[in-house]
């Protein structure tokens, strides 16, 4: 295969992987700590993307839009957490999965109501190309990759250096013990949920200029994001990072080999991994509740 194609393929895969990672990390944390499958994260992703579009139209600045998207996603997720999840954390996973799907579905309806059905374009904020080994690579994609790594280290620092982060890590192991020490776990839940929402919004904002913004965009990435979370092992942060980039590369390089593979290969990879290791790469067997 020719190097130029390969390089741009790898970069493309890394940037897609970055978006998947930003989306999946929140889901994974939510699952790890609260034992919920929060399909509504895909709504915050769409909210982030749409706000980016709207703010870009108003101000002409895409970065400002991304920032606004994150804020809006955080606010919406906070509202949803308050009104819905706070009542249902105790329920089983199936229950939260269906409820959060309802929220996602309703959100898609609301988006159609506000922004209409037509897909909207958002221009790439950085047009420059970077030469890597004689191949022109869009700088914006590299920026997206860098941002996702910064987020990874930010989360790592948060979880390992702050007391709240340590409590969240402890809660991922055993919520009851954390509660038994006298820590208000619902506060931890809220913090985690909002972090997840903001990161989903960031993913939507960054992704908006790489694709068309349309009401169904959440449903379109849903399957991929969940695949990332599952391959990595629900609740594992390291696993999520690894699997996001695996999936990104499988999508990107797979399509270089044979176009239809782009969509199918990752799912086949996932089935294979699950058949070998039913809990994903880094998933733990120990699950309470």
């Amino acid at each position: 295969m020719d190097t130029q194609l390969l390089i741009s393929g790898v970069i493309f895969g890394l940037s897609i992987g970055s978006i998947f990672f930003l989306l999946a990390i929140g889901l994974s944390l939510c699952f790890g700590l609260m034992r919920i499958i929060s399909l509504d994260q895909l709504l915050y992703y769409s909210v982030g993307a749409y706000l980016t579009y709207t703010i870009h139209v108003a101000t002409g600045n895409t970065w400002l839009g991304v920032l606004g998207g994150m804020v809006a996603a955080g606010l919406v997720s906070f509202g949803v957490e308050r009104f819905v999840f706070l009542r249902i954390y105790e329920r089983d996973i199936t229950f939260t999965m269906i409820t959060s799907f309802g929220i996602l579905f309703a959100g898609i309806g609301a988006i159609k109501y506000i922004w209409g059905l037509i897909p909207r374009p958002v221009p790439v904020p950085i047009d420059a190309q970077l030469q890597i080994l004689g191949t022109g690579v869009p700088l914006y994609r590299l920026v997206v990759i860098v941002i996702s790594f910064l987020v990874y280290f930010g989360i790592w620092l948060f979880l390992n250096r702050t007391i709240t982060g340590k409590a969240i890590r402890a809660g991922i192991e055993d919520v009851e013990h954390v509660e038994g020490l006298g820590i208000n776990v619902y506060k931890l839940f809220t913090i985690t949920f909002i972090i997840a929402g903001i990161l989903s919004g960031l993913a939507g904002g960054l992704h908006s200029s790489l694709i068309m913004v349309d009401p169904q965009m959440g449903l379109e990435v849903l399957a991929f994001v969940f695949m990332v979370v599952i391959i990595g092992g629900l609740g594992s942060i390291k696993g999520t990072l690894a699997s996001a980039f695996i999936v990104g590369q499988v999508v990107s390089l797979g399509s270089l080999v044979y176009a239809p593979l782009a969509q199918m290969a990752p799912f086949a990879t996932m089935l294979l991994i699950l058949l070998i290791k039913p809990t994903g790469l880094y998933g733990s067997k120990l699950l309470k509740r």
Partner: protein
């Protein structure tokens, strides 16, 4: 006595449906019945075994394509096409189920979704030579007319699926009351206890999975014969959650849930999308509301009132 009572309920439901046949346009009635057959499998899995699947379209597509391949390439008799759909559905769900039912319920939901996506791209791109990709397979003209009930005619087709649905209802009712049904509930509620009693959770789940998804495949075959056309759109990932939504709307694990849910869902979709473009908003909020209000669904909520109305005081069966 007990037998008589639930028969009454089903007869009543079907009388209503039969009456609806007069008032409602035929395509609408047909769609509702096939949709409720489609939902029965999901309803059984979720309500009895506690498995939620976001990949039911996968099995729908298996049945639909089995029938379509037969009617397009090999034969003309729609009945044989349907039987083939059931057979292939049985085999596929037996193989797939053997792996899937080992997974935890959350993984199960998503793995099924993955299967639906794989089948979608398989049919759309990889096997495009035989499936004709997005153009789909058209075979309405290939179907020969059959004696007694001519499935090519929408009116006869209605009677046929009416009878099929009724038989399925009786079958699922029978399952609910049988030892197997009790075991299914057992794996959902307390798998350890069931194991101590000497049952294998794995084989019970596997059986349940096969039954449910063979039903789904049958629904796929019926769609194929009804439209005389199958395209990959039938397993599009965006439609993956339809049966789950309908199951919840109708009332999880209830006997009449699928039909009530199908009527409500199809009706709302047709009615609301006429008035407002964003019926998802309504359905989504309804879904959340139903879950928060005790996840009983439409039928589950009506049930006690109907019982009160239909039975004299003190004779209400629990």
């Amino acid at each position: 006595m007990k037998v008589l009572k639930w028969w009454w309920g089903i007869l009543l439901a079907f009388l209503l449906l039969g009456a609806a046949r007069i008032f409602l346009p035929l395509p609408f009635a047909n769609e509702i019945i096939i949709f409720s057959i489609y939902t029965m499998g999901c309803n059984f899995l979720l309500g009895r075994v506690g498995f939620i699947s976001f990949g039911q379209p996968a099995y729908l597509a298996v049945g639909a394509y089995a029938t379509a391949f037969y009617l397009y390439y090999f034969g003309t008799n729609p009945y044989i096409g349907i039987l083939l759909g059931i057979g292939v559905g049985l085999v596929v769900s037996a193989i797939v189920g053997a792996f899937f039912v080992r997974l935890r319920s959350d993984y199960f939901a998503l793995v099924n979704l993955a299967l639906a996506v794989i089948i979608f791209y398989l049919m759309e791109k990889v096997l495009a030579k035989i499936t004709h990709g997005d153009n789909g397979l058209w075979f309405l003209a290939n179907m020969s007319s059959t004696p007694v009930l001519n499935l090519g005619k929408p009116g006869d087709f209605f009677i046929f699926i009416f009878l099929v649905a009724m038989a399925l209802w009786a079958f699922y009712k029978y399952l609910d009351d049988s030892l197997f049904g009790a075991c299914c509930l057992g794996t959902k509620i307390n798998e350890d206890k069931l194991r101590f009693l000497g049952y294998s959770n794995y084989s019970i789940r596997w059986m349940a999975f096969i039954i449910a998804n063979t039903t789904t495949a049958l629904a796929g075959s019926l769609y194929a014969v009804y439209f005389g056309f199958v395209s990959p759109a039938i397993t599009h990932p965006a439609r993956a959650a339809d049966p789950v939504v309908v199951t919840i709307l109708g009332g999880v694990g209830t006997l009449y849930g699928p039909i009530v849910g199908s009527i409500a869902y199809t009706g709302m979709k047709d009615l609301l999308s006429g008035f407002i473009a964003n019926w998802e908003l309504f359905i989504g909020l309804l879904l959340v509301f139903i879950m928060l209000a005790g996840e009983k669904g439409i039928w589950g909520t009506l049930d006690p009132y109907l019982k009160k109305a239909f039975y004299r005081k003190g004779t209400v069966p629990k």
